[in-house]
Amino acid sequence: MRIITYRQALNEALDEEMARDPRVFLFGEDIAIYGGAYGVTAGLWQKYGDERVIDTPISENGIIGTALGAALTGLRPVAEIMYIDFIGLCMDQLNNQVAKIRYMFGGKCRVPLVIRTEGGAGRTLGAHHSQSLESWLIHIPGIKVVMPATPYDAKGLLKSAIRDDNPVVFIEHKMLYNTKGEVPEEEYLVPIGVSDIKKEGKDVTIVTYSRMLLFSLEAAKILEKEGISVEVIDLRTLLPMDIETVVKSVKKTNRVVIVEEDCKTGGTGAEIGMQIIENAFDYLDAPIIRVAGADVPMPKSPVLEKLAIPDVERICKVVKDVLK
């Protein structure tokens, strides 16, 4: 199978969906001439023109509000919030309008809106360009939250998100854009709300998503050599969360490590862990342990930044701890 980057996979998804459905248009900061801060929309403005790829002013709340109005009246916008750190600027529109409008109106409208954004540390960009804020978003009923880790999933999930009649927040990771993976030439979709066992194992289950999948797989490889068999589950979608796949795995391995990049306190891992306890407590032979981001604003220094997020070594150590 051909190998392409995560960035290219996303670009293909947008291109294919725009070609397939004239109601789809892109809307955000620096996405047209510039091609997106991380190049995801490169070439699409040249191909589809001003009315399908729209550069907006720096007005995040206005971008999401306007995209919502367009979605309510028959279009299928893909809005871009350049960094997830800027989501605070549009949290009113996202939380109060986008997520709730269908429910508040008794189901009498649809919001086919995708909000693409990216997050995560790794480029030493400091506290305003490196956050992992997905736990804010999974606390909002009415939206879906998708965080793909591989080029294959990125493409298939973005296409599904664009075809979904519900609002989907699609969170990419800045350190994944240049990663490569197998992506078929022919069309395919990856369903939202279905997690994926990226590596089978029998001794311990790692539950993870986004970039931390790559770290977890690397850790699993190292541990394998030491005779520890790790099962790695990529959640892919955080809301709705496919906990069944996780529970099934826990029933097999009886041990769980959660690996997440976001801050530990009140983080996504807390939700994952609690759902495991609610659904598979009797099968646990050891406490669930989180390997998570530090509860600090992301520091600039490359040394400190590395310490603020999980690394392969820490994951290996924690896996061994739960096996003790």
């Binding site: 002013p57 709340n61 508040m104």
Partner: protein, 319 residues
């Protein structure tokens, strides 16, 4: 502007419907039949009725936390609206929205909003949608004086002007953002000036005069339909009741209230129609009686309607 008898009846009746609807809700709140809160539109009827009377059924509006008037003027069903305010299953949003979220997309009402300024983004997006789809529709975006101090107002007016979107932004200046007066919260007292920053044409209109509102809104609706872009209208008006039911109105004087009540939009319009010989006293009384009956029927319907079933809690969240 020429007024046919048919139009006069329609305008007067709608204003009366809104007034009596709101008076009735105040009564239901006092009797605890209506729970929670409600922001009443009484006193401001000429703005919603005048503005919405010049657009087509398939044009859009967005409304505010004080949204009953807009919903009624946009061909809202009185029974379904009343039932919604009481949280009943037969409500226009199945009892899940309430007073702050009256909406009926089938009639182009993109919804009231619990957040001040919350509808401005939606209206601008509907305008973008119209432009991209090359339709000949317009959007009337209603909001209060308070919303023009909100960030999304500035973000969206900029985009609407930049892209020449067919949105008529209508600020209902009723002088108070809850308790804080325009004088105490706006650096610019003439709110129309805010549109200058975006090169959007703007003007003030007497919000107590339904015909004046019609004339101004019609002008800017035509302007928008011709592809010239947005406009900004400040309708100067007054709400008779407080911000909400718990408001003792300590921030304004009884004299000021009296002044505005003497400028009642329904009386002004009724007198004008009598002067012009279009409607007589008897006809006006007859309309009022008809409306009274309609409101009674709506309340009866709402009170007798069932609440949603428990299983409705989890429906309508996702498609």
């Amino acid at each position: 502007m020429e007024i046919t008898k048919e139009l006069a009846i329609k305008l007067l009746k709608q204003m009366m419907e809104i007034r009596q609807f709101e008076d009735m809700i105040m009564e239901l709140l006092a009797k605890n039949i209506a729970e929670g809160g409600s922001h009443l539109y009484a006193g401001m009827e000429a703005v919603a009725v005048g503005a919405i009377s010049v657009i087509n059924p398939d044009d859009y509006i967005t409304s505010t936390h004080r949204g009953h008037g807009h919903a009624i003027a946009k061909d809202g069903d009185l029974k379904a609206l009343m039932a919604e305010i009481l949280g009943k299953k037969t409500g226009v949003c199945k009892g899940k929205g309430g007073s702050l979220h009256l909406a009926d997309l089938s009639k182009g009402n993109l919804g009231a909003n619990g957040i001040v300024g919350g509808g401005i983004g939606i209206a601008t997006g509907a305008g973008l949608s119209i432009k991209l789809k090359k339709e000949n529709k317009v959007v009337l975006c209603f909001f209060g004086d308070g919303a023009t101090n909100n960030g999304i107002f500035f973000e969206c007016l900029n985009m609407a002007s930049l892209w020449k979107l067919p949105v008529i932004y209508i600020c209902e200046n009723n002088k108070y953002a809850m308790s804080v007066s325009v004088e105490r919260s706006h650096a610019v007292k003439d709110i129309t000036k805010k549109a200058l920053a975006f090169d959007i044409p703007s003007e003030n209109v007497d919000g107590q005069d339904v015909l004046a509102v019609r004339e101004v809104v019609e002008k800017w609706v035509n302007y928008a339909r011709q592809g010239n872009g947005p406009s900004f209208i400040v309708a100067n008006t007054y709400r008779y009741y407080g911000h909400s039911r718990s408001d003792p109105r300590v921030y304004r004087t009884r004299e000021e209230e009296k002044f505005w009540r003497e400028r009642d939009p329904i009386i002004i319009f009724g007198n004008k129609m009598k002067e012009m010989g279009i409607l007589n006293e008897e006809e006006i009384n007859q309309i009022e009686e008809e409306v009274k009956k309609e409101i009674e029927e709506a309340v009866d319907f709402a009170i007798k309607s069932p609440y949603p079933e428990p299983e409705e809690l989890y429906t309508d969240l996702y498609v």
